[in-house]
């Protein structure tokens, strides 16, 4: 018998370790729940709400909800997938996303999620915000037009790089990413091109200069397999596998 505690995900048992959240346990067990602002290496914070699931009848972000014995989690339902599609549409409408000309196309988490969830239309009127780019740094370009406010760079800088390069300012629809410099320019921060924060952007905000389009369209990350498969491949697994 499996000694580990379990919860039910869409009717099937998922084992978990104490301290894991519903999403972490599900991914480790090879079960996919769509998500966007969650990354296995950083503290989950639950802002994008794409991983929303029904946990014992209550709507919760699966990435931050602690796994608990015998809870019933519903995720792969029409209602929840409709919700996720709408949330992805909202993110597309909020920023300025032009996939055909974006360097990140094919490597982009938002685009991949849109394909995987079957987002076929814009759904909302685009807001076309005015977001100037920051090309001050010799090696890194910041194109805020594509920012989805997932805070992965904020968390990577803080938790891995031990820096405060990225931060959030403003509130509501005016919330935006800033860098830690009085000038407001990336070149005046202590960022390094080798920082973890530079590699985690799921969309095309943080872009390394002079390496654009090195991989041709068609051979990029999500051209090979959909985001659902790759999220499972990336999930940390327990070192010791338990079997029934």
């Amino acid at each position: 018998m499996n000694q580990r505690p379990t919860f039910l995900l869409d009717g099937q048992d998922v084992p978990f370790e104490p301290g894991q959240t519903v999403l972490q346990a599900a991914l480790a067990a090879g079960r996919y729940i769509p998500h966007l602002c969650y990354h296995p290496e950083f503290t989950p914070h639950g802002s994008c709400k794409v991983c929303t699931a029904r946990v014992d009848g209550r709507m919760m972000a699966a990435c931050t909800t602690p796994a608990a014995t015998a809870t019933e989690v519903e995720s792969d339902t029409q209602e929840l997938n409709d919700l996720r599609r709408t949330l992805v549409q909202m993110l597309f409408a909020e920023g300025n996303h032009f996939c055909p000309s974006c360097e990140k196309s094919g490597n982009c988490g938002l685009q991949a999620l849109g394909y995987d969830l079957g987002v076929m239309t814009a759904g909302f009127r685009h807001l076309f915000p005015d977001r100037p780019v920051d090309a001050s740094h010799p090696e890194i370009l910041l194109d805020f037009n594509r920012c989805i406010l997932c805070e992965l760079c904020v968390r990577a800088a803080r938790e891995v790089d031990g820096k405060h390069v990225f931060s959030l300012a403003g509130r509501g629809l005016g919330k935006h990413l800033i860098v830690n410099a009085e000038s407001g320019r990336l070149v005046d921060t202590d960022v390094m091109v080798t920082d973890k924060a530079i590699e985690v952007c799921p969309v095309g905000v943080i872009v390394r200069k002079r390496v654009g389009f090195a991989t041709p369209i068609g051979k990029r990350r999500y051209d090979a397999s959909p985001v659902s498969a790759q999220a499972l491949a990336d999930a940390p697994r327990p070192l010791e596998r338990h079997h029934d």
Partner: protein
């Protein structure tokens, strides 16, 4: 406000020592960041980048954190502001009383556009969420000070004073008079307790020989045999009273206190939530201005019951005008041994209260966002669990209670739980203070035992021809005349206190549109559905308002409401759709008569897009317009 002339110039003399003084007054502790920013702004007029950088340096925190916090709160200005910053309260009751017209008149007189600073940097005029003066609106804030009862002559006088650059301290005192307007007082508003009565009653309750042992062996009171029983005895009375939170959610106070008392931690905290941001509510303003001792007694009784050494009063920025008086009350209480060490001679009973002033953020009324703000951060609600009773301020056990709840707790400490429970209904004991405003003859505070009918309140406040009542503000419910036999009680219509009345002349669509704008303005922006969804709701409502809405907009709003209900991070997002859903259900014709008979019409206004070109060329003849559609 002090350094008005400085704000007009770019350079702020002596900025460095001024910032350093403020930072050191807050102990170089970054948890005071919101307070430091507020004080620096009061000193300097706004928060220039160089001031933010100085604050960061003196607190030894990243500049981006200071910038992130400063740009979160709507009263903190990272851009230059006029030496006089005028903010019109934009609650629906202000609008009903003519605030839009008055603001237009002021802008015209001062030659300034709404939301922008005048060319000479003298003045900026804008709007802000409800300032809690609904019983005497329209109201405004000028450099944080409240002026109510606005009319054309008062606006004229204000414009003259501004143009003459008269310092606020020299403005007529009657401008700043705020009336209490207590219309019906019951046990709370008519209490006759003296400062400290509730504390002494709680201490005596233990001394009377309550037999139960202190449940919390980690408590400092363990060492004092007689005293060990007092907190438990007091807690028992609170539980016996069945007092429930007056902030709207209605959680049982005794259970909250007990959970906090039993939680392990290095310290426990009592927080009084005076961030009365729900549009239409103003009871806490009156309690804090006329019954501050009762509030502080309640906090001290709570501290005694849970074993807390520190308390915070989180005062909404709109009530900044109460701060000096409240600090005076705290000083007096310290001198009278009602705060400090060994309160009322009880060895080991050490407790003090510090006031934090908010800076214009409705979401900080949510308890975990409030705690974030107390810690000097952006007011974003936390993920829960864990809840504040175990992981609150600085991750220590914390209770957050509404002002009215703490007042009731003070009464219970004196008169006992059974006395309190005898009032009200089965599940809602005691009384509730309603903030009555809108189309009524006598707006103000009405305190009733729970169970009072809506019809009774309407009769008492002199409402005639009433079409609808918004209970508990935009996040509450809107009811129509068929429901006036319903009751104020947790069993039927729970409320945080707002009671806004609309007579038959009001357009309920415009009421809902005002509330939708409120939620979009106050969304913290943390989660996708609320950040984007509340703005999409406003866009749909605005489109209907412009006369180009169709059935498509109604469907879209239904879809957005579902998304918000299902996935928003906190109560703000969950309730943001209530005003639209309620009014659609009860007053659908108010929407439908504005709709086009089409199924869909594009949001893009082709003729409107030519407006800028018309302005630039100074043309407005028929040739400069597209032919209007049939």
């Amino acid at each position: 406000m002090a350094a008005m002339s400085d704000a007009v110039t770019d350079a702020i003399p002596e900025l460095e020592p001024r910032v350093r003084r403020i930072v050191s007054r807050w102990g170089h502790d970054s948890s005071g960041l919101v307070q430091i920013l507020r004080e620096v702004q009061e000193d300097c007029g706004h928060l220039p980048q160089v001031a933010l950088a100085l604050i960061a340096r003196h607190l030894r925190i990243p500049y981006s954190r200071v910038k992130g916090v400063a740009s979160f709160y709507s009263f903190l200005a990272v851009e230059p502001m006029g030496a006089y910053r005028v903010l019109f309260s934009d609650n629906i009751t202000d609008r009903m009383a003519g605030s839009e017209r008055l603001m237009e008149a002021m802008c015209h007189r001062l030659w300034v556009e709404p939301g922008k600073m005048s060319e000479d940097r003298l003045v900026s005029v804008g709007r802000t969420s409800c300032t809690g003066m609904c019983d005497q609106g329209p109201a405004l804030l000028v450099n944080g000070r409240a002026i109510a009862a606005l009319d054309e002559s008062r606006i004229d006088r204000i414009c003259e004073l501004i143009l003459a650059r008269t310092p606020l301290t020299d403005w007529p005192a009657e401008f700043f008079v705020v009336e209490d307007h207590v219309r019906r007082a019951d046990i709370l508003l008519a209490h006759a307790l003296k400062p400290g009565d509730a504390i002494r009653a709680a201490l005596q309750r233990g001394a009377r020989g309550w037999s139960e042992r202190a449940a919390n062996e980690r408590s400092w009171r363990e060492a004092y045999e007689g005293a060990a029983q007092g907190p438990v005895a007091t807690l028992e009375e609170i539980k016996r009273s069945n007092l429930r939170g007056r902030g709207g959610a209605g959680f049982t106070t005794g259970i909250k206190w007990e959970a906090c008392r039993h939680a392990t931690g290095l310290a426990r905290y009592v927080v009084c939530n005076a961030d009365e941001g729900e549009p239409g509510t103003f009871k806490d303003r009156v309690l804090l201005s006329s019954h501050a001792d009762l509030v502080f007694d309640g906090m001290t009784v709570a501290a005694y019951a849970i074993g807390a050494g520190h308390g915070f009063l989180y005062l909404r920025g709109e009530y900044r005008h109460l701060l000096d008086r409240l600090e005076g009350v705290l000083e007096r209480r310290r001198a009278a041994n009602l705060l400090g060490n060994g309160i009322c001679g009880q060895a080991g009973f050490d407790f003090d209260i510090r006031i934090h002033v908010g800076a214009g953020s409705y979401v900080c009324g949510e308890e975990s966002a409030l705690i974030e703000s107390l810690e000097g951060k952006r007011g974003v609600p936390r993920n829960r669990p864990p809840y504040p009773v175990t992981h609150g301020y600085k991750q220590q056990p914390t209770i957050v209670n509404n002002v009215e709840t703490l007042c009731a707790a003070a009464l219970i400490a004196v008169h006992g739980g059974d006395w309190y429970r005898a009032l009200g209904t089965l599940k809602s004991s005691g009384t509730k203070i309603l903030s009555v405003a809108g189309d009524v003859a006598r707006p103000g505070l009405y305190e009733y035992p729970f169970g009072v009918t809506i019809g009774q309140v309407l009769e008492d406040c002199g409402a005639v021809n009433t079409q609808a009542v918004q209970i508990s503000g935009p996040s509450g419910v809107c009811i129509d005349a068929t429901e006036f036999n319903r009751r104020i009680a947790f069993e039927d219509l729970p409320t945080a206190g707002a009671f806004t009345v609309f007579d038959a002349s009001r357009d309920m669509f415009e009421v809902a549109r005002n509330y939708a704008q409120f939620f979009a303005h106050e969304s913290c922006g943390f989660c996708t559905p609320c950040r984007v969804g509340t703005s999409m709701l406003v866009a749909a409502m605005d489109k209907i308002h412009r006369g180009s809405g169709t059935q498509h907009e109604l469907r879209e709003m239904a879809r957005l409401n579902k998304v918000l209900m299902m996935s928003a991070h906190c109560g703000l997002g969950h309730t943001a759709c209530n005003p639209i859903l309620d009014t659609l259900k009860r007053f659908r014709p108010a929407y439908e008569r504005k709709l086009r008979s089409l199924d869909f019409s594009p949001a893009f206004d082709l003729d409107g897009a030519l407006e800028r070109a018309r302005q630039m060329t100074g043309r407005d003849d028929p040739g400069a317009h597209l032919e209007t559609q049939p």
